[in-house]
Amino acid sequence: MSAPLIAFENVCVEREGAHVLKDVSFSLAPGERLAIVGANGAGKTTLLRAMVGLQPVTAGRIVAFGRERALESDFHEVRLRAAYMFQDADDQLFCPTVVEDVAFGPLNMGLSDDEALARARVTLTSLDLAHLADRLVRRLSGGEKRMVCLAGVLAMNPDVLLLDEPTNSLDAAHVERLVDALMRLDKAMVIVSHDRPVLDTLATRALAMRDGALHPVVLHRHAHTHEHGHIHL
């Protein structure tokens, strides 16, 4: 097995005396799409935040891309290689126009204006979003904003995608587009989500978070029949 991209060893996070993460250990292998499931407030988002150093840890080791990471300066490189897609698109999209927002990451990676813009347009085109390039962010629909967020993180050509509730508040058509786009990528991912059908499609492995601790879960695929109500339109 190749070396893990990111590994946690007994990581703890305390907030106001409460244990948000308790002795969390796991690793993410190249190409793996790891699902993290769990109830609201179980610590899933904290786990993602700790992976890129936004959440300081109180104990344990974080090894990312072959080096131990502890300080803010260590995490700068991690953030460029493990791209974090935020739950609320309006937190992530801060530039007035779409193409500028997508170019923001590449510019921070040291590309020139023209290179960053070209990279942004290529990324938008690869997601069938070329028509949005010159639009104003505030005029986009919720689904469009989410897709542009994905373009923004993909433009950095990261090794890992960290997705926090990526399908939240998306309609069925946009969920399908997003999942399609993610399936076509050959990248490791950590996906925090409540959307079971989406996880069933995407994930290659799953972990359950309960009260700040990680537990393995069996992920298996089989044909089954069941009875449930659904809406016909």
């Binding site: 936004l54 953030r79 937190d91 801060f94 007035p96 500028e100 204006d113 505030r138 923004g152």
Partner: protein, 254 residues
């Protein structure tokens, strides 16, 4: 290609003002505004207003937008315009009971209306159609502090989100039977609303900062190339200078 669509505007049939570099427009707007507010006489101020109207035509500002913007300004000045003729001492032109309209007060009010409208229309003609992003770039290129420029750009992006947050919160208050009134209870609710919006704004700002750091932001925006000025910019600078000199000459002679 530049991020803004400045290039696309340089085609034939585009308003004259739109062909100018945003830096030229910004400098010209400040320069002309200073020139206009330092005029003294009535004739020069009327001339300035005529010049401002000409600029509005050159910029082909949508008349509806013009009216809306001017209505905002007139709203601010309404109080002043009503109070000045009544409060400034002078010869009474007309009187209504204990109130009398003084000639000097009326004159002063007219002067203020002329100056403010001339300056506002000049600014609107030059900057009205400028996207915040291009305005921000121009400010940065002119050496305005990066923090201030960033503030301008963030306002452009997040103003809509804050107003919709306030609207949503207010709707949810009304959905639970809240009605605006001057009662103590209503004021307490307004206080909670204002506090909540403030807290959410701070939280939002923190998340935006984190999202920016996640894309490698380290405190400085990468510098951007500036497009060179053209002959149109030089011609417009000359026009603005001549107009300012002419207005001030008129002011001295009159």
């Amino acid at each position: 290609m530049s991020l803004s669509q400045a290039g696309a505007h340089r085609e034939a049939g585009v308003p004259l003002i739109e062909a100018l570099d945003p830096r030229t427009r910004l400098i010209a707007a400040v320069f002309l505004a200073v020139a206009i507010v330092s005029l003294n006489g009535f004739a020069a101020k009327a001339g300035a207003l005529a010049f401002a109207v000409a600029l509005i035509f050159m910029a082909r500002i949508d008349p509806q937008l013009l009216m809306r913007r001017l209505a905002h300004i007139e709203g601010f000045m309404a109080v002043l315009l009503v109070l000045l003729p009544l409060t400034v001492e002078g010869r009474a032109l007309a009187s209504l009971g204990p109130l009398s309209i003084s000639d000097r007060g009326l004159e002063r009010a007219i002067h203020i209306v002329l100056t403010v409208n001339a300056a506002a229309m000049t600014a609107l003609a030059l900057l009205g159609a400028l996207e915040p992003i291009r305005l921000g770039r121009a400010m940065a290129a002119l050496g305005v502090s990066e923090r201030f420029v960033r503030l301008v750009m963030f306002i452009a992006r997040y103003q809509g989100i804050f107003s919709s947050e306030i609207r949503r919160q207010f709707d949810s208050m009304r959905a639970r039977g809240f009605r605006s009134s001057l009662r103590r209870q209503a004021f307490r609710a307004y206080g909670n609303l204002a506090g909540m919006i403030l807290v959410r704004s701070i939280e939002r700002a923190e998340r935006v900062d984190e999202a920016m750091r996640c894309r490698g932001f380290s405190g400085r925006f990468p510098l951007r190339r500036v497009r060179p000025m053209t002959g149109a910019d030089a011609r417009f600078a000359l026009l603005a200078t001549i107009a300012a000199i002419a207005l001030h000459a008129l002011d001295r002679l009159a």
